[in-house]
Symmetry: C2
Subunit: 657 residues, 2 copies
Amino acid sequence: MKDFELSQEVKMANALRALAMDAVEKAKSGHPGMPMGMADVAAVLFNRFMTIDPKAPKWPDRDRFVLSAGHGSMLLYAIHHLLGYDDMDIEQLKNFRQLGARTAGHPEYGHADGIEVTTGPLGQGIATSVGMALAERMKNARYGDDLVDHFTYVIAGDGCLMEGISHEAIDMAGHLGLGRLIVMWDDNKITIDGDTDISTSTDQMARFAASGWHVVACDGHAPNDIAAAIEEARNDPRPSLIACRTIIGFGAPNKQGGHDVHGAPLGAEEIAAARKVLNWSYEPFEIPSDVYAAWGRVAKRGASARADWEARLAGHAARADFSKAEAGDTSALPAAIAAYKAKLSADKPKVATRKASEMALEVVNTTLPFSVGGSADLTGSNLTRSKGMTSVKPGAFGGDYIHYGIREHGMAAAMNGIALHGGLRPYGGTFMAFADYCRPSIRLSALMGVPVTYVMTHDSIGLGEDGPTHQPVEHLASLRAIPNLNVLRPADAVETAEAWEIAMTAKGTPNLLVLSRQNLPTVRTEHTGENLTARGAYLLRDPENRQVTLIATGSEVEIALAAADQLEAEGIRAAVVSAPCFELFAQQSREYVTKVLGTAPRVGCEAALRMGWDLFLGPQDAFVGMTGFGASAPAPALYEHFNITAEAIVAEAKNMI
Amino acid sequence: MKDFELSQEVKMANALRALAMDAVEKAKSGHPGMPMGMADVAAVLFNRFMTIDPKAPKWPDRDRFVLSAGHGSMLLYAIHHLLGYDDMDIEQLKNFRQLGARTAGHPEYGHADGIEVTTGPLGQGIATSVGMALAERMKNARYGDDLVDHFTYVIAGDGCLMEGISHEAIDMAGHLGLGRLIVMWDDNKITIDGDTDISTSTDQMARFAASGWHVVACDGHAPNDIAAAIEEARNDPRPSLIACRTIIGFGAPNKQGGHDVHGAPLGAEEIAAARKVLNWSYEPFEIPSDVYAAWGRVAKRGASARADWEARLAGHAARADFSKAEAGDTSALPAAIAAYKAKLSADKPKVATRKASEMALEVVNTTLPFSVGGSADLTGSNLTRSKGMTSVKPGAFGGDYIHYGIREHGMAAAMNGIALHGGLRPYGGTFMAFADYCRPSIRLSALMGVPVTYVMTHDSIGLGEDGPTHQPVEHLASLRAIPNLNVLRPADAVETAEAWEIAMTAKGTPNLLVLSRQNLPTVRTEHTGENLTARGAYLLRDPENRQVTLIATGSEVEIALAAADQLEAEGIRAAVVSAPCFELFAQQSREYVTKVLGTAPRVGCEAALRMGWDLFLGPQDAFVGMTGFGASAPAPALYEHFNITAEAIVAEAKNMI
């Protein structure tokens, strides 16, 4: 670049620094160190490379920018303000970290335009970006360069690279050869507790190279060096790590380079000193017009690229398909599921709900061209791969089934990334006990409201011999505790089909299917067009003047029905409620709830802990379930051993009447 | 080795193979592939290197053996049987995976002698072993080579190395230079879904080398090659990875080398074929006496080493200290905490409970010489480092404070390993929201019953501006859902001290302290010698003829007291219950529970979701708390915004009376 342009780029960077330090100071809270340290890298990236249009923040072929080091949120907000995002005026920056502001402490997806993903929990950004970059290649394989041809850029800190999820992410990206993924590592050698060398001595470049990445280093305060590294990364067919050697808090003369600058305001004195060092004579939150103009040119470049793309789309043969996938059009699914359900109620298969899930997926995957399956190396157990699916492989991204490897956390984050990217709808499976391994990413699905579907099989002691490490006991409660997550535990093939319909048509809610290893009979033997699972709970058996209500989920509905039979034989009228989704039941009308639950005493039954059942059960009601960890034995022996039987339900019911 | 010895070692290995395939066949369930593939490595390791004494399975200076690939449990059970562990007779092997047998599907700590750690959830074993190897060096620094001088050997599979936790573990071990840690990787190039190359292409040796490990490869079916690699590893000052190139299911002629042999019985025909290939003419579960004799010599070697060690200990100057630490003698702590509590009730400090925790740790750490602190890079936030603690560093293991780095999962697993190793008592801190990151290891603490202490600060929306990613909302419920885990949320400095006493004196239960970022007044203003927190809940204010009972935990106790004051001003008598530990309250007598809860209507208050509160609240009772995710703003604004206020409690109380 010419000298005057270079000095302008430095000014663009210093504007980021000034806004970051001023906003943190005003909020009396926040993290100035990262934005000031990475300002030069960010300025070069946006000034010379990024293609985004602030006026069309969801434009499908935009470059993605992921701030994995989410605590440096002011970097992102400052960029968005300078680029002219409509919803990021200077007042938002002045209200950094205040109630109702879009400028939350960490970037929150949906709070403001251009925030591609919620970050803050370390490592999530880089792992999510793998899903985004994978989605880009998968869509590219479907629609070609004219419609899909963009980069995913990530800024990651030492914390992101120390977290375990980063290993799953880089291994996956390296294996798949996601060359459009470029991670800029803020190599500042500082963590909260001090220098990085108090806790790590990994050679990160060697580590990434071991996983098949292209690696390059640059001086993170030398614009042309940064640009050369990014250029090299863009041209390499492998995913790239750029080690950006930076000084944390760059520009704050007395504090830069130390860990105190990481997460606290600089203070008035140091800010004044920084203004001098940076030659930045403007008032707090004042940006000179030439800097606005320079950032504005980035936005204009993006707008122009977007217009070109719109023109290409308009004349493209695949326009309709592309747009339907982008819109996530699932309008054909309900009818397909309804037809399939009618068949099921007639056939009455006795299959595990994981098998029923595979059967339902035949319908889902043949109806929705943009569904993408996968498993964390348990395909044959999770039964997530329906007929005709083809594997996504390095260099062959036309497939629709992803081998996520033994990486539950990486899978969940990648699914978030695929869903956030748009145009594809991911689901992925593992054993339910390993929901714990991907819980931080499940939480982000829920917090962001991205409609990812988790397929969790082997859902109770019913998995048998693998024993307590593999037997979920507390997982239903712990997953139901996550706000904005539908936990669906179907009782048979019909409910499983309904659960898939709910999951694949959901808009702002992730869904988690909880499926049995063991075979279960069809309990919904009469066909209903209505999706009863969407009610959360419903009456499966409803005798007049019921004396007791038995409520069960999943594999225990069969047991509750057997108990009702036994009670009936003794002249006791028991209603049976199947309750596949507590969250959806909690959204029903009072009338409906009253009708389902009735006024008779209740017995709940679930091969899990009681926590969470107060939605259905009062202190006088009974619960048949687990009280602690499971054990290793064949499933029938375990149900007997833990006394989760029809006889136990009958005893409780008779005890209460 | 001489030829006849070598052939004997092969027979020792084939005995493992035969027992594994026969036990899996009889159970009709299990994993023969790994035991058969790694039998040669295991035979060489035990025959030539391992120092253990089956008659003294807890002997402190034994070598540790960790089967990280826990699904290969039959390998471990077969070894223990052949070595002559008293509780592992042939009947146990015949009852593999049956109810009540010690031979659970995966190795369960405490189920049988010699099982050093529960494994099965992949990656946990290797990460736990880092804690064991670290404890070995820390104790060596304290007591010298005469008392502490042993190795930690690990067998890990591809799954262990793909899981993210493995990155945290190897980075930590490499940084600390844990040269006594030797990981034998079962490099069989097979995962459940197929060949490893469908999901990974990481060069594992390069990856480990990048983190400072010594790496060496061997032919996993060539005894002398295996032995040479182990010898080299033992002599290298760095932790070692031995890539053992093996064939999964080695010996099963038609199935070996494929993924079908991983997790299913071989079938009678293939077993017969394997017997031929292995030249193993014995009946199922029959072991010839020469093989028993060969394995017996390993046990004898260990017994002899143990006797030598006992003699060294008997004459050792540090004998008393060593034994006290081994026994985990915490008898001095209660009196020290009681004295400190008396001071607190007089001083009435207004501090955050994280600060109160730091203050209590001064007492704990000066009273217990074997406590070991640490944090996942949040020392200044978690306040886990009390005065006088010194950092554990590479080559300097005499310290008592561990910089775990930004590795919550690795920290938790390492703490399990330290506790399992014995002689040290670990605690470690992170933000409570990141409990999700280490949840699989917390679950294992609880399942194994190892008394690890988790210090989880920034426990609610009270952390303020960092926003919903960092604000626990569902975490109290999800952690309370884990069986055998005490979740302690103290309300002030007094309860915090009591919580630490509970945590550090616990025998078979891990404890998790949930601590505030914000300052809280001392609510226990009258000194009690009794540890009231150990009651789980107790009356803090108890007016006669109470009209309403307010129940709160942690930072909300202050709010409940303010509400009681307001109610009193209106002539309404409100009792206030502080409930720092639901689990301990559930263990109290019915009389005590009745006395505390009374019969008046109740209002619960906690800045978290209601789930789990049915221990205290019926359907008619009220709850003041959260109903979804938090937000980014200063803490006082958030409490107002989410209506967690004295006024809200008052309104609910008046509404019910």
